[in-house]
């Protein structure tokens, strides 16, 4: 092992890894943006990055000058072109030349930058284990950032871009995600327009909003008194109750679907908003109660006792003292419950057959058929995603608190 703890090994790892990653990321981006049938030569880029990194290692860390960095970048460029036989993207240089130049420069620049960032203080020969691991971790952390960003961003990018395409261009070249402005603004957003005019998505949006907001209100109305009782009042069975709250939301929804379906069918509650507004709060109240109870316990009881001494009733204490103090928790709970209700799929799918009462989730599922073009499905998915992501980004702090407190629920 000790033999391997060598600056050169780090240079090989860093150079080859970053060369390959830069080529994959920028090569694929180039293909996606320009629509050209690119065939990025990953091996050539890995070799280029490796040799570029080795150039840096010619000198000791103190002697590495700016000139050396430029030399390293030049080596990357030259090797990239030589090893790929002047076809870094598997294309003739006359195809989308500007894009090719831009992608090449980005690759050379990013490889040089990351090599320098990773290796600038790496010695040439044998290294202490501490330093070796520090640089190794640095390399892999960099890789981690790229990896996570790509796996998260790529699907969402594809989601948005597909919704802006037409069926023909989608089938002609699945990799062409360039934005086509030839149809103008209305041409670009045609799928969205059709969803709102022909597929009734305005109504679904309204119903989803009503159902989600009503669920939040109902959930708070039920869970605030309950949470207060569990966290502040003494009564026989309290310990059992506060533990069994968790158990309740371990009950899988799918187990409840068959009996509820049977009963709702016979009572005529299927295809009604009332049916959803009975079920949704019931599934969110335990989570909300659990989250609020934890928060109420953290509030100083002395404040409430003072309120009681001054002649407030219990209800007065809750309204005038506890609730104002727990506004942040209420915000977290509300946002979390809103998200659950907005995203809910199973019950909406089972209990709604009538397009007049579809929620957005249910409406998007109804687009998943061979008669409806894919870009409509994606546009529907974007419409369902945007409000909840917007709220999430706007209130990220509260939302994150809600997720952390409630995320025992899936």
């Amino acid at each position: 092992m000790a033999v391997l703890r060598n600056g050169l090994l780090l240079a090989v790892i860093s150079g080859a890894l970053w060369g390959a990653i830069a080529m994959i990321v920028f090569g694929v981006t180039f293909a996606l943006v320009s629509g050209a049938p690119a065939q990025p030569s990953v091996n050539a880029a890995a070799l280029a990055g490796l040799l570029g990194a080795l150039v840096l290692m010619v000198r000791t860390p103190e002697q590495r000058s700016l000139t050396l960095r430029f030399l390293s970048a030049a080596v990357v460029l030259v090797v990239l072109f030589t090893a790929s036989f002047a076809h870094p993207f598997g294309l003739g240089l006359d195809v989308a030349p500007l894009w090719q130049i831009a992608a090449t420069l980005l690759i050379v620049g990013s490889v040089s930058f990351t090599n320098w960032a990773c290796l600038h203080d790496a010695g040439r020969g044998a290294m202490r284990r501490y330093d070796f691991e520090k640089i190794l971790i640095r390399i892999f952390k960099g890789f981690g950032f790229v990896f996570f960003t790509v796996i998260v961003a790529l699907p969402f990018y594809v989601l948005v871009m597909t919704s802006l395409k037409s069926q023909q261009s989608l089938l002609a070249n699945p990799l062409d995600f360039s934005v086509d402005f030839s149809g103008g603004f209305s041409g670009l957003f045609r799928s969205y327009g059709e969803l709102f005019t022909q597929f009734n998505f305005g109504r679904y949006l309204l119903i989803s909003s009503i159902v989600s907001v009503a669920t939040v209100i109902l959930t708070l109305l039920f869970s605030v008194p309950g949470a207060y009782a569990v966290s502040r009042l003494r009564f026989p069975g309290r310990a059992v109750l506060s533990r069994s709250i968790l158990l309740i939301y371990m009950v899988p929804a799918i187990v409840l679907v068959i009996p509820l379906y049977a009963v709702f069918s016979q009572l005529g509650l299927r295809n009604t908003m009332a049916g959803l507004l009975i079920i949704y709060p019931a599934t969110t109240i335990p989570v909300a109660l659990y989250m609020l109870q934890g928060y109420f316990q953290g509030l100083p009881a002395e404040l409430e006792e003072a309120g009681l001494m001054d002649g407030l009733s219990r209800l007065g204490v809750i309204i005038k003292i506890t609730l104002p103090l727990s506004l942040p928790a209420m915000a977290s709970v509300s946002l979390y419950v809103f998200m659950i209700a907005w995203n809910e799929f199973l019950f909406a799918f089972m209990f709604l057959d009538d397009p007049d009462i579809f929620t957005l989730s249910r409406g998007v599922v109804s687009l998943n058929s061979s008669e409806v073009p894919r870009q409509h499905l994606m546009a529907g998915a974007v419409i369902a995603t945007l409000p909840v992501l917007g709220i999430f980004l706007w209130f990220e702090r509260y939302m994150v608190q809600g997720l952390t407190a409630g995320s025992v629920k899936g």
Partner: protein
């Protein structure tokens, strides 16, 4: 969750004040308890009940007696013979209806020649007590009559009044007919054991994948840098977005013919032809001359699960990491511990508690998951888990009883997990 110590309230002993406090607490909890009982606890018990009943999806519509009225013969002159026919049937083929009574108003001016013994006619009101109608029952009840002048004058025709049928049918959900047939069918089916195996694979690897990805993401973010808040927000996207949106995005992205990922893989020469990620049961690859095969669709679904739920583990683990005191690392640093040693000997033991709690909770929730697989593959290509099987049996095959029986299996397995969780969960976490 720590056990709760009362921070306020009266002294010990049950005085009137304490009783009042308890009453208040019960009153405040009553609405919650009521709604949870009706939507969670009672349906849970009802599910056990249904699992022992031979009930089909179609049985939810109760059997009803149906009557159609027909007129045979011409009524053009006084003395014409006509026949009023009631076509009676039971809407259900299997189940009987008891105490069926048909009532209809009888047109004036129509003299009945011969009345069926089950019927009575009083003041133009016809009432027939038909008794029990077996399942699939059909009959034509005929009443011969002679036309009189009043009938010809009257604008009211026999068919203007619809016959009304009443009867008692047993509700299939509440009768006492019980059977073990559902369970026998579920356990005897050859696919049940493969479904169970798929469920376990999905749950174990999906949970582990989400946890490991979350741990790595938390390690990345456990340091201050510019843009960290933005990146953290981005990392949470997969979980915050609606399941329908991300599931369909994956379906479109991985589509064998028009999907971007397949196009990328083929263009870069990583795949020879289109790969049907969600539709192909088995895939094999050659490594070092050995051929390995693995369940492709199941692996893709597990990858989706890990992708969608890593943000949760990420948040939890990051929160725990940030609460670890920095002193310990400084001391380790002084002693010359390397970064990997610090992670292995300091961070991991500190994270063990949260990791084990997360594993159990995610395990339970992954096991419960229905939406994801249902939307991605519909349970095809070897990805059918127990929860998807509930839907498959109960709704796709329209056998509610069998679906409920699978749901009972789900619940029993889950209950065991929950007991384990509450037995072993550290008291200071969660």
């Amino acid at each position: 969750m720590s056990s709760i110590e009362p921070t306020s309230g009266p002294p010990k002993g049950t005085g009137p004040m304490q009783r009042r406090e308890a009453r208040l607490a019960y009153a405040m909890l009553a609405p919650t308890f009521l709604i949870i009982a009706t939507i969670v606890l009672i349906p849970l018990l009802a599910n056990f009940w249904i699992s022992f009943k031979p009930v089909q999806l179609g049985d939810l519509r109760p059997p009803t007696p149906v009557a159609n009225e027909r007129l045979r013969g011409d009524a053009t002159a006084v003395g014409d013979q006509i026949r009023v026919e009631y076509r009676l049937r039971n809407s259900s083929r299997q189940r009987a209806i008891a105490d069926v009574v048909m009532t209809d108003s009888w047109p004036s001016g129509l003299a009945v020649n011969d009345l069926d013994p089950r019927c009575t006619l009083e003041n133009q009101n016809l009432r027939c007590e038909l008794g029990n109608l077996e399942g699939g029952y059909r009959e034509r009840l005929k009443i011969e009559a002679t036309v009189e002048q009043a009938f010809l004058d009257s604008p009211i025709k026999p068919r203007d009044s619809k016959p009304v049928m009443t009867g008692d049918s047993e509700n299939i959900l509440t009768n006492a007919e019980l059977t073990l047939e559902n369970f026998r069918k579920v356990f005897a089916a050859s696919e049940f054991w493969s479904v169970l195996k798929v469920t376990i694979y999905y749950t174990v690897f999906g949970t582990a994948g989400a946890l490991i990805l979350g741990l790595f993401a938390a390690l990345l973010m456990n340091q201050a840098f510019r843009g960290r808040a933005i990146l953290r927000g981005l990392f949470l996207f997969p979980y915050v977005a609606p399941v329908i949106a991300v599931a369909f995005t994956w379906v479109v992205l991985l589509d064998p013919f028009s999907g971007a990922l397949n196009a990328i893989l083929q263009q870069m020469g990583a795949a020879g032809g289109p790969i049907n990620f969600f539709g192909q049961r088995e895939a094999s690859f050659t490594l070092l001359g050995l051929e390995f095969s693995f369940p492709l669709a199941l692996t893709t679904v597990i990858a989706f699960e890990a992708w969608r739920y890593f943000p949760l583990s990420f948040l939890f683990i990051l929160a725990r990491m940030q609460s670890i005191s920095g002193d310990m690392y400084e001391a380790a640093e002084m002693d010359g511990a390397t970064p990997l040693q610090q992670f292995w000997y300091l961070s991991l033991p500190q994270l063990a508690g949260i990791l084990s709690v997360l594993f159990l909770l995610r395990f339970i929730w992954t096991f419960n998951k229905f939406d994801d697989i249902f939307l991605l593959t519909g349970g095809g290509a070897g990805t059918r888990t127990l929860t998807v099987d509930v839907y498959e049996q109960g709704f796709a095959l329209a056998n509610l009883g069998a679906g409920a029986a699978v749901a009972v299996v789900v619940f029993v397995v889950l209950f065991t997990f929950s007991v384990i969780y509450f037995r072993f969960s550290p008291k200071d976490e969660g």
